[in-house]
Amino acid sequence: MSRWSEREIARKLAEHDELEPPAGLLEKIKSEIPPMIPVGTGVPEIDRRPSMPPRQRWLIAASMVTMIGAGLLALHRTEVPPVEETVRTAAGARQPAPRGVILPSTPAAPPQPRALTQPLEKAPEPKPVPQREEKQLKSLGYISSPEGSVEPGAPAGVVGGVAGGAPAGPPPAPSLAPPPPPPAAVQELADKKESAAGTLSRDEERRSNENLPRSTAPMQEAAKPQAALRAKAAEAEPAWKVPSAWPIDVRGDVGTASYTALRRSLGEGRLPDPAAIRIGEILNAFETGGAPPVEGAPTPFVHGPGYWLLRIHPSGAGPALLSFNPVIVARYRLVGSGTSALYEIELRSDAPRDSQVATLHLGETGRAVLLSDLAPSWDKASPGFRLAALAARFAEVIKGTPGDLSEIARQATAVGKDLPNRIKAEDLADMAARIQRIRG
């Protein structure tokens, strides 16, 4: 018999002497922490289901296949009556014929699938989420409601006119949180569910995808018409968000289809369909090339200091993720994302000039975006950046945000003078002026 039983070995292994680290080790380790540590951009833990051993996965898959198969078989058997029963039912429907009289045979009506014979049922109302859970979900970025997406106490009317343009009067309230559509409009939208689903903004869809855990993807597919309604209602003005720990994917639309559609409708002398305009695609159309990865400047489109525009231009095919520093950035909104993404941010009032606004991860490298990296004023920003900002603003105005198109045209003409090739700037000015004329 061995002196070392398994229990004895386990006990011996689990014995813990006080292994106090030597004095000064903590300081040594701390002193070696590099000034900038890029962190891996894997899926956050809470967002991920625990991994499952392959054998268990196979068992679950096999069980599911069996259950689905059995369900289908049962459904088939209940919906298609046996042949004898069909004949009997058909015969019972007729009056018994006297002997010797031959009745013309009437074919039995084919059995209708149950689902088709019953009237469509209304989907059950979703249970209200308890307040505490809702708060937690919001804090994790899983859900966003119109009122939750705007920081309380945020100044209203940030999307008035272009600074220096005509005074916009009292700031329009719906600029931050679009009001819910009137019942008639909702009904109309409900009637057009299918078409709305087709015209769902890719920007909006991507944003909602970002905020949902992976496991809800099938449910999201099922709820697409409702999502389309919500998206259509909120499309006019993307919501402001409070920065969270979750990094944002900055990659967006590719192509310039919205620009082509816009040009075509203007050529025909009519206003474009606002729902068909994707800001990301308009941004792509007015890309001038050679943009740095990060660029920014105070926005000229809002009243009051602290509002900045930030353009992220990821090059290469790797992941491009952005996380705003909640200490400095009070809130942010995605204006549009194409090959570059344009964000509007509101800085906290006491943000020093050398503060870090965000962290940008391009591929496996991360870099800090400092306020001092951005242009101190709109006029000092690069012409490419200004043109992109004007183009995005132009698209927003087309989509329903209040704004002065003639001022956009004037600014675009001014930017064109600073660009080596002024064609795009003049094109933007021309389109803004034409829409202004059509609107009268």
Partner: protein
Amino acid sequence: MRSRAEAGEEGRLLAALAAGDRQAAERLVERTYRGVYGLLRRLCGDPDLAADLTQDTYRKAWDALPGFDRRSQFSTWLFRIAYTTFLNHLRRPRRLVPLEEKHEAAVPDPAPGADEVVGRDAEGDRLRRAVLALPDDLRYTVTAVFWGELPVKEIARQEGITTVAIRKRLKKAFRLLALALEEDVR
């Protein structure tokens, strides 16, 4: 055993680190360095070497952090780095000391005498050597469970196997350790 709250705290610190908060890195070190040192101390049996290897571990961790995919907890990932750092140290070729230099080393060693150490730690040291002689998968499992104090579930997730398989590994390791220790006594 790490609680869910602790794991959540690690996640928050990592998020802060991603946002450029250097103090988060310091907090992560404060939370983990005792465990890393303890593990390395048990693995190598030498306090000075364990301290050096602990510093090495963190250097490597900062370099490797961009590749951290969060499949496991940060502390589990750090444990794996510490374990690999120790193995690499074992595999590193030793510096050859000239004979004269060896003879000249007449400085008194403040450490306890050999007899004292052997008398006190002989059993523990035999066990340590026996653990290090285990096959790699068993050795990692034993050290992770007992010296790294990692939850079995977490090790299973990192290794991509079930918790039952981890327990089987432990059982097998105990059998081998019992054999090795018996032979050592003879």
